[in-house]
Structures are given as C-alpha cells and as structure tokens.
Symmetry: C2
Subunit: 462 residues, 2 copies
C-alpha cells in the first residue's frame, strides 16, 4: 500500500522529533525507514528541505540509508532540493551518490552544480564515467538526449539466445530496464530490437539476429521531449531507443520518464493557456519572484492591448452618451464573445498538443466551427433578447441580439484560427491563450456592438 | 521508424485505390500491410471510417490481416469506429475478434454493443470466458476496474523460482505484461509481487515466497482512474495490481493504459478550464450536436451571470453619465482582473490535479498569492496611470490606478480560493474555469471601479 498524506505527515513528525534528540536511536529509525518506499521518503525530505531549518534532519535521514537507497531517494527530489542537499555534503559522498544514481538523473544533477564543484568531481572520476557524464550532460534541455539514460541492455549482433539471456542476467542490477533489448552492430549502429518476453520463449541456440525485429521505432537525440513522449504513448512502448545522426545507439527513454514529460508538458500548456510562463517547479514551491515574473509579462502587455477596447469606446462616445443603457450590455456581450472564442482556441490548442488536430485539418474544422458557433450565437441571442426588451425596448433588443450573434461567431472563428496562424509562423499554438483571445475579442466586440448600435438606433431615430 | 502524417496519407490513398479495383491484388496488399505497425493501420482505418463510404474498404483491410492482428488494430480505434466496423461483421467473426482482443478492450467494446448482440455473443462463448467478460464489463466507467485487464501472470504461493519461470514462459503469449509477477495465496489473495528481473537472477530452487516483496502497492477495483494513473506515475510502475474488497487480485492496470488515462484526464481538465464538458472523442471527430451541447450550457449560464455586471453598471449610471471617460477604462480594468484571477485559478486547479497542491496548503498559498497579486496589481497600476492622466486628468488616473490594484488583488484571491471551496464541497475544482472566474470578477470589478470612482470624483468635485 502506498502512504496517504496523513501517514506521510506522521512519519515526518516522527523523524523530526527523533533528530531533535541529542542521540537519536539510529537503529530503530533505519528499521522504520526500511519499510518506506523511496518515493515516499523523497516527498517527506522535500517538505523538510523547504523548511530551511530541517535541512540537516533531511541529510540525517539520507545518511541512515544505504548509498543506493539514498541516491534513489535523491532522484525523487526536485532539482533545487537536490542542490541544497548536495551543497552540504563532501565531494567524496557526492561522488558515491552520483555513481549510484541512474545516468539521466546523474546528468541532471551535475548540470545544476557550479563550475568549480563540477571540475572537482570530474577530476575524481574514472575516465569512462567522466566521458559518459560529460556526454549526457551536454544535451540540450527539453530534448531526447536530456531525458535518456545510457543504462540499457545492448546485445551484440551474432549472439545466440542463451548468450543474450546471460547478458541480461549480468546487466540486470544496473540497467534501467531489461525488458527491451537492443541489438547493435559492431560499430554501435542499432540494427534490431526484441523484448525479453520474446527472448525467453525463443530456442536457446537461435541467433538473436534471426528473431529480432528489424524495423525499430527510434528517435533522434535532438528530438523534442514532448514528441518523444507522444511516440512512447502511441506505440505503448516500455522504452524508446535514442540514436545519433549516424544511427548509433546512445540511450533509451523509459516509459516512466516519458510519462513524467507528458505530465510536465501538459502543466506547461495549462499555464500557457492562461498566459503564465513555464514554471521551473510546482506552484507551491517556485520562488515568489519567479511566479511574479512568469505572470506579469502578458498581464501588462494585455493592459495595453485592452486600450484598443477603450479607444473603440472613445470613438463611440456620442452613441453611448445618447443611449447610456447600451453600456449595461457591454460586459455581457464582450464577455460572451470572449468565452466562446477561448473555448474554440482551447479545443484547437489541446487537439494540436495531443496530435488529434493537424494543420491539414484546418478547413474541415473551420466549417464545423462555423456551424457550432453560429448555433451558439443564436442560442445566446435568444437568451439575451428578452432582457434587451426589458431594459431598452425593442430597438435595443434587436441591437443586442444581432451583436451577440456577430460577436460570438467572430470570436469563435478568431479563437479557432489563431492557433493555426501561430503554428504556421512556428510559434507555439498554446500562445493563443484565453487572456489573449479574450482581449482581442473585447476590442473587436466593442467596435461590432457600437457599430450595429449606431446603425440601427440612428435609422430608428430618423 | 514510425510513419509521419504524409506517409500515412500516401498509404491510405494506396489502399483506397486498391479497393476501388474490381479485383484488388490481395497478396501484394497483405505484404505491404505486414510492414506497417498496428497503431498506424489503426489511424488510417479511423480516417476511412469517418468518411462513411470508405467503411467497406476499412473492413476489407481488416480482413487482410490475421485475426490477432485485426483485433490489435481494432483496439487502436475509438469506440464509435469499433462499433461501426463490428456492426458490419457476422457474429462468428466478432466472436473471434473479441477472443483475440486484450480483456480490457474486449470489455469496453462489449459494453458498446446493443443488448441483443451482447446476448447473441454471450450464448456462443465458453463458460469461463463469459464470466470473465461479464465481470470486466460490469465495472463502472472511470474506475480501476474498467481499465484493468485480467491477463496478468499469477504465481501460486509455494512455487519455486524455476517453476515460476516456467509459468512465465507458458503465459508469455497471452499476458498483457510478464515483467511484473503477482504471488497469490490459494484463496486468490494478493500476498506479494516480484519483477521478472528479480526472478531471473534468483536461485532456481528458492521459493518465490522468500524473495517476493510483501508490501505491494495496489489499488481498489472502484478507485477513480485518475488516481490509478497518479500512483503508476508516482512509483514508476510497469503495472499496478487491482484488488477487490476481500484483497483478492482481480486484474492489473498497465503503464500504457495509465498513460492514456493521464492524457485523457488532462484533456478533460483543459476543456473544463474553458467551461467545455467532457467530449467523448477528439474535437475533429465528435458530432457537431455534441460539441454544441458541451459548449452551450456554461455559455448561457454565464450570459445570465454577466447580467450582474450590467446591473452594477445600471446602478452607477449617474456616475457614468457625469464622467463618460470612465467607460474608456472599463474593459481594461475588468479584463485585467479577470486575467489575473484566471491565472491564479489555473495554477491551483492544475496543482491539485497533479497532486502538487493539497487542501492543507491553502493558508500558505493564500499568503503567497497575496504578495504576488499585490505586486502584479501595483505593476499594472503603474502601467495604466499615465494613460489615466492623458485621458481624464489626475483624478481619473488616481481612480483607475487604485481600481486596478484592488481589482487585480481581489480577482487573484477569488480565483485562488474558488478551487479550494469547490473541492471542499466535493465539486471538481476544475469547474473554477477561466470563463466562470472572469465573469465573477467582471461583476465585482464593475462595482469596485465605480464605487472608487464615485467616492473620489465626488470628493474632488466638492
């Protein structure tokens, strides 16, 4: 059973109390921790590290665990917490932890250290480890290279099934996954793959080359991580092999890392959809200054964009002064248009992110949106018409209803098309956020509304 | 290599052309299809089925594949497309396909069939299969039971390592995954688990009971599917065992199904965030009528909610008539408040969905939001002040700046708190959508703005 929040809280208090003692009973604590999963210990330590004074307790807890276990727990902490812990440890211990971490996590942590510390650690590493770490640490963030691990099971072309099984047993303790095997030619080129399942039911004397699957799904080392996650999801893979420009195998991305990427990409899109920049950590932990910066940019930009609505209103000041009742319907009309438009934009942005919608679908979707938005506009016009009659008479009702249909239709089409336009200009379609779409529709809505109003009311008056 | 969109399009045209012939060269087509992955064939068939006249071609393609392969391809189609295909096939063939499908997909398809068809198919099944299918089909949608499969590797307590390995080899062709094994007591209770990796390096004569992990992470059969996906992600599992109320094992949820759930839950939250109901299919395929219904409800509700803004304006009609320039800033102020509030709501909703934010974090997050929103409000007030001076003089600038700070602060706090309030009342926090938050802030913003305006402008006038 996994621990619930309450059990985690209890354990945390227990640990904090124990370490407040002069001489904590380390054996009892070690025993207690042996029953707890690394992911859960990680969560407790994360909370301790946030509360600065408990950082020493967190390190005390780590020191109670075996090297392998503490490396494992460390891997569950966010980068800045890892950094705080490592900052308090001597080089020798950091080196041991780095060795025990999986190669992708090792590279991530290494990249966070400052130059001096990195140099000091590299000097104490064996040549092979150093080169592997430098290579993994060199890939750009957000690419397949940055999330892959080099701990996979490589089988040399020409091996028999029983030789391959032996190799699996040997590498089992270190490999990230042993369930998918990769067959490499002597120059390191990836020429085939097979699952451990296939290997286990194959004739022991057969050559792996004869039973492997030659048409391997793979990805390039500089491929974007969200695309990597999509391929893993689409083909239900346990791991996706990563190759370099020469088709040489350099690593694998495992299903659990792909799932983490998919989750963080979705979070980023959620935030972008509300004009919030990508946060480097969860909202409850990210520094306040950073949260401010990620939110303020678009908000201020939109203040100025909103001036267009104001300018529209200023232009129609006479119309408004003549019929102040019109202002009553202003928030309603531009709000409704904004809502419908934001809906249309979100449907497209998410459709594009999941691969359901492509640029080629544009014209078909435009037709669909025209019909749906038209119906929505009519429904909402019917809803608002009686209120128009009540507040301003039949002429105002006509203005308001007609404006509602036009604004909802215009807003929906604008919201639907904007993501495609952005995509065409190689800008992330998620930039078509609800606040941006809403602001654009506000300005257009003002113009549409008062244009219709001045046309109809003038003709009624004359 | 996986196929890109263009290659898929080419293959689709090729297939359509071939089947337009009087006598298509079936051998050549079978050969061609043998090189294509099931997921890719599934995507092509899905497009064919959407275009109604090509449904027969889609069935023709399926008939070229082996039973196992066509069941596999069928599994990649969305429910309604599966239904269209199955509607054209005789009972015998449907029975074969159902047998070949994995047990979770079989139950999903079965649930979509009409009563008569289900009865007809059940009558022709063997007793064991029938019971298994009825059981899986009976679990409520959205629960662990509905997404689990019963094709897992069960190892009887008391087996030796070599006996267990034999069992793995025997079940390899049928099991959904053989990489995680479950040790069951004679009454079916789940008492332990081990990975195939552990089994492979263990001494052949050892008892599985001695090396298994007894503290199994499992889930209840009626647990919500999003929680299941979260547990799989949190503990990096290949599969999560599902147990019933008596701790008897009933199935597993595999990592790929968990990833699909996480994606569709994220999509649902995206849509909810813009007040769109859960769609039963991708936006490009869902029927227009359904798309209309899922969007219209909140839009119309919000029309009426927006009337409060109108009422606010009506109440302050004299203030407005006295200083029409105030209207110029109205969209700007309520728009800015809405944007900031929608940001705050989104940060909380997504944080809750990923498990980063819990109800207990409320007070801490409130303090943080107070600081961040205060800073945002001040920044935006500074941005808007000069425009206030330009358009209406110093008094108006003061009104607008003061309103900006107040509205942004109020809006952000409202947006931040609403998801917590909803959660407390057991309503999905994602209901705190941008349109809802924006509309609430619009109405409050009108009141705040004109209250400040009438207070300050009156005191200036006197």
């Amino acid at each position: 059973m996994s621990l619930n929040d309450e059990a985690l809280e209890t354990l945390k208090t227990e640990l904090l109390d124990a370490f407040n003692d002069e001489a904590p009973n380390k054996d009892a604590l070690t025993e207690r921790l042996s029953e707890i999963r690394s992911a859960d210990i990680g969560e407790i330590l994360e909370e301790m590290i946030e509360e600065d004074e408990a950082l020493n307790t967190a390190i005390g807890v780590l020191n109670l665990l075996s090297d392998e276990r503490s490396a494992n727990v460390l891997g569950y902490l966010p980068g800045d917490s890892q950094l705080e812990v490592v900052g308090k440890l001597p080089d020798g211990q950091v080196l041991t932890l780095l060795e025990e971490m999986s190669s992708d996590e090792r590279a991530d942590l290494f990249n966070l250290l400052d130059e001096d510390r990195r140099e000091a650690l590299l000097r104490r590493m064996a040549h092979r480890e150093r080169e592997d770490l430098k290579r993994l640490a060199s890939y750009e963030e957000g690419t397949a290279g940055a999330i892959m691990t080099s701990d996979y099971v490589a089988i040399a072309s020409g091996m028999t099934v029983s030789q391959a099984l032996m190799r699996v047993r040997q590498t089992a303790p270190d490999a990230e996954t042993v369930y998918q095997l990769y067959i490499l030619a002597s120059d390191g080129q990836l020429i085939g793959t097979m699952s451990l399942r296939q290997l286990m039911v194959a004739r022991p004397g057969a050559l792996v080359d004869d039973i492997m699957i030659k048409d391997v799904i793979s990805t390039m080392v500089d491929e974007a991580q969200e695309e990597v996650a999509r391929v893993v999801a689409r083909y239900d893979l346990i791991a996706l092999p990563v190759i370099d420009a020469d088709n040489r195998m350099v690593g694998i991305v495992t299903h659990d890392d792909a799932m983490d990427v998919a989750e963080s990409e979705a979070t980023e899109d959620f935030h972008k959809g509300m004009s919030i920049g990508a946060l480097e950590d969860g909202v409850s932990r990210v520094p306040l200054w950073s949260l401010y910066r990620k939110r303020v940019m678009w908000l201020v930009l939109l203040v100025f964009a909103n001036l267009f609505s104001g300018a529209g209103i200023a232009y129609f000041e006479d119309t408004i002064a003549a019929e102040v009742a019109l202002v009553f319907f202003l928030p309603l009309l531009i709000g409704s248009g904004g809502n419908a438009g934001a809906q249309a934009a979100t449907l497209m942005v998410r459709g594009m992110a999941t691969g359901d919608v492509g640029v080629k679908d544009w014209s078909k979707l435009l037709g669909r949106e025209l019909l749906v938005a038209g119906s929505l506009g009519l429904t909402m016009a019917l809803a608002v018409a009686p209120i128009g009659v009540m507040r301003g008479g039949e002429a105002v009702a006509m203005v308001v209803s007609l404006s509602m249909v036009t604004i909802v239709l215009f807003g929906s089409l604008l919201g639907m098309c904007l993501p495609f336009v952005l995509e065409r200009f190689k800008i992330d379609p998620a930039t078509a956020s609800a606040p941006l779409v809403t602001t654009l529709i506000d300005a257009s809505g003002v113009v549409i509304y008062f244009s219709i109003a001045s046309a109809i009311l003038t003709s009624v008056a004359t």
